[in-house]
């Protein structure tokens, strides 16, 4: 120990030298942007253009009050929250069921695992385009006898095959509910692999003797699941829920994947825009102040939800 201390005190700059590359990069690309975002959020009507002109900006909370009153922003907030609260519970529940099923089968487990994992390594824009094609309608949805529907997309084909009416999922004139339904299916499917990976890993590390003990005691399958599997998996479940919400609040690419940059059907563009989308839009129209304020609101929202989840998990999660 004495030797170590001597070396440390003789060359304290060496440690800093080794740390420097990481520290410099962190400072430039993480610390300063955060500080700058906070600064811009409180400079009223701040825009990059005006700054060039040498104008000064009043310090205040004007950006925040403006953003909150902004109709588009409220719509984005609504979409984001709706997507979060729809997709996270659904994808978590599905992932739990799938991983329990995968864990209990012996043969074909590996190929199935691979299949379920595929969306994880696939580009989400590409997936979005495929999904758009599946839900798409080429030709007019309100086709009269003269206007033939060329294709109604594979989903509508299936619906029609079972005798149902085709649904206008994402095209001109589609309903908000139909849009959200498509988004939910797509995001859930996209979110499954990571969750399955985590939960399956958790399941495989559960001591098999708990199940043997439960079996000797004549526990039903449902009770084993509810009273043993879920509690023992609770740390992993908490983890996928928390990261799921964080991911959900940052949702943007999946909307672009399906609707393109219009972020909505042609007759109502931007209808499905999200918080992150709002930030991007504000930036592209040189409203840095507004964008920063929206980003901080998003940050606050994620923080509150995560703290809430941590609070709940403290009571419910067994570590």
């Amino acid at each position: 120990m004495a030797d170590n201390n001597m070396v440390e005190s003789r060359h304290p700059w060496k440690a800093w030298l080794y740390l420097a590359p990481a520290l410099v990069l962190l400072a430039i690309f993480t610390v300063w942007p955060i500080i700058n975002t906070i600064r811009m959020a409180f400079l009223e009507n701040y825009s990059g253009l005006k700054a060039v002109g040498g104008a000064t900006f009043k310090f205040g909370i004007g950006n925040f009050t403006k953003v909150i009153k902004y109709k588009k922003f409220v719509q984005c907030l609504k979409n984001t929250v709706l997507i979060c609260f729809l997709t996270v519970p659904i994808s978590t529940a599905l992932a739990l069921l799938i991983s329990v099923a995968l864990n209990s089968i012996k043969w074909f487990q590996k190929p199935l695992q691979t299949i379920f994992f595929l969306p994880y390594v696939t580009n989400s824009i590409a997936i979005g385009m495929v999904f758009a094609a599946m839900f798409n309608i080429v030709g007019s949805f309100y086709g009269t006898e003269n206007q033939l529907i060329v294709t109604a997309g594979i989903i509508n084909n299936v619906i029609q095959f079972f005798g149902g009416q085709p649904v206008n999922w994402i095209n001109y004139g589609s309903s908000y509910a139909a849009n959200i339904a498509v988004m939910t299916i797509y995001i859930v499917w996209n979110a499954l692999p990571f969750k399955i990976l985590i939960l399956l890993g958790g399941l495989q590390s559960v001591n098999k003797q708990y199940y043997d003990a439960a079996k000797v005691d004549g526990t039903s399958k449902a009770r084993i699941f509810g009273r043993i599997t879920v509690p023992l998996l609770s740390p992993m479940i908490a983890y996928v829920v928390i990261t799921g919400f964080i991911g959900g609040f940052k949702e943007y690419t999946s909307i672009v994947g399906i609707f393109g940059e219009s972020m909505g059907p042609a007759d109502d563009a931007k209808r499905l825009n999200t918080m992150v989308g709002f930030v991007y839009d504000s930036l592209s129209t040189n409203n840095q102040g507004r964008a920063s304020a929206a980003a901080l609101i998003l940050f606050g929202l994620i923080l509150v939800v995560t703290l809430l989840e941590l609070y709940v998990s403290k009571k419910k999660v067994h570590y």
Partner: protein, 367 residues
């Protein structure tokens, strides 16, 4: 409840389909466990004792043979319909439940006519908790308990549904030496109080000897000897059993029988009435030596360990199968420091002869 095992056999198929490497874990095990007894399955690891336990429990299906509980054939029944309580080696207490919830868990599974009301369940849980003396720990989580307490909770959980048979898998192996002594008395007491037929598995002969009514010594899936602990100890059926039981272990010598006398080297150490001349393995229990100046058996003294109550003599002999011989004699005996050799006579009921090849016991007349 009497438990009857008939020609019980368990064969594990070989992992490699091409190679013929199947493992016979338990081979043709037939034994009737009398009602209300505590039976210890004893053997080195890999001898099939745990497999036997799991077959009685129902977690593993026998390859052939039958299991009866009383007159019921339970061979094909799943564990939950057998009425067994199983205590796992590492207890397998549900970590997220309190002690109370753990004990209540099996009761909450009961269905139909057996279903109990909440009050009845609690009553039963506290009753059992009292027997194993953990009724003051009911609100704790397993992680907040010591190993011995966890063990008791596991026993309570197994007992609470009033099983016909209680099964314990290496019940003491996770406890420290002191707790082990205490807990084995405890298991014996609980078994006496509940009068439940109990089977437990152990590799520790001392543990098995101290609490079992009967012990079953196994080796490589084959039962070597069944009997009361003292009987098995004082009359081992073969060299394996003789070596496996007893601490310090039995001393084994290579010798021969000549003219109805047992020879170790050139010294005739005991009589062997009615035994034909042959090479034999000779086992002598450490307590079978008597220090005697004109005794027939001479050994080279290497060390004397005085342990209060008795004295342990460590010696060597050219015919010994082990590097050293250990003899335990009364502490009243005094051995001078400069002594190089000591002479013993041997208690006739502490010396056993075994066939050189088969290692089976050769019984001497009049013993």
């Amino acid at each position: 409840m009497k438990v009857e095992l008939q020609n019980l056999t368990k064969i594990f198929p070989s992992r490699n389909k091409n190679a013929n490497e199947e493992v016979v874990a338990v081979n043709d095990f037939t034994f009737t466990i009398p009602d209300g007894t505590l039976v210890g399955l004893l053997g080195p690891s890999g001898c099939g004792k745990s497999t036997t336990l799991y077959m009685i429990c129902g977690l593993q299906k026998p390859s052939s043979g039958k299991i009866f509980f009383g007159d019921d054939d339970v061979t094909q029944l799943p564990p939950e319909n057998r009425g067994v309580g199983l205590v796992f080696q590492n207890y397998a207490l549900y970590p997220h439940m309190t002690v109370k919830q753990n004990i209540l868990f099996p009761l909450q599974n009961l269905k139909g006519a057996d279903k109990l009301s909440k009050e009845q369940m609690l009553e039963r849980a506290y009753e059992v908790a009292k027997i194993v003396q953990i009724d003051n720990l009911m609100e704790r989580k397993p992680s907040e308990l010591s190993g011995g307490q966890q063990q008791r909770v596991a026993i309570a959980r197994a007992l609470v549904k009033m099983p016909r048979v209680l099964l314990l898998d290496e019940p003491l192996s996770n406890l420290d030496a002191r707790l082990r002594l205490q807990t084995r008395e405890e298991i014996k007491r609980i078994q006496r109080e509940t009068k439940i037929t109990t089977v437990f598995v152990t590799h520790d002969q001392e543990e098995a000897m101290s609490i079992s009514d009967m012990i079953v010594v196994m080796k490589l899936g084959v039962v070597q000897q069944i009997g009361k602990p003292q009987d098995v100890y004082s009359s081992p059926a073969n060299l394996f059993v003789a070596k496996f039981l007893g601490t310090p272990p039995i001393n084994v010598f290579n010798g021969c029988v000549k003219g109805e006398k047992v020879y170790i080297g050139s010294e005739a150490v005991a009589d062997a009435k009615g035994i034909a001349d042959q090479e034999v393995s000779i086992g002598i229990r450490p307590e079978g030596f008597i220090l005697k100046d004109d005794g027939p058996f001479t050994v080279n003294l290497s060390n004397v360990e005085v342990m209060g109550r008795d004295v342990s003599i460590v010696a060597t002999h050219e015919c010994s199968a082990n590097p050293t011989i250990r003899a335990i004699i009364d502490a009243d005996n005094v051995i001078a420091d400069d002594v190089k050799t000591v002479r013993f006579s041997i208690k006739p009921n502490k010396i056993f002869l075994f066939n050189k090849e088969t290692e089976e016991r050769i019984y001497v007349e009049g013993k």
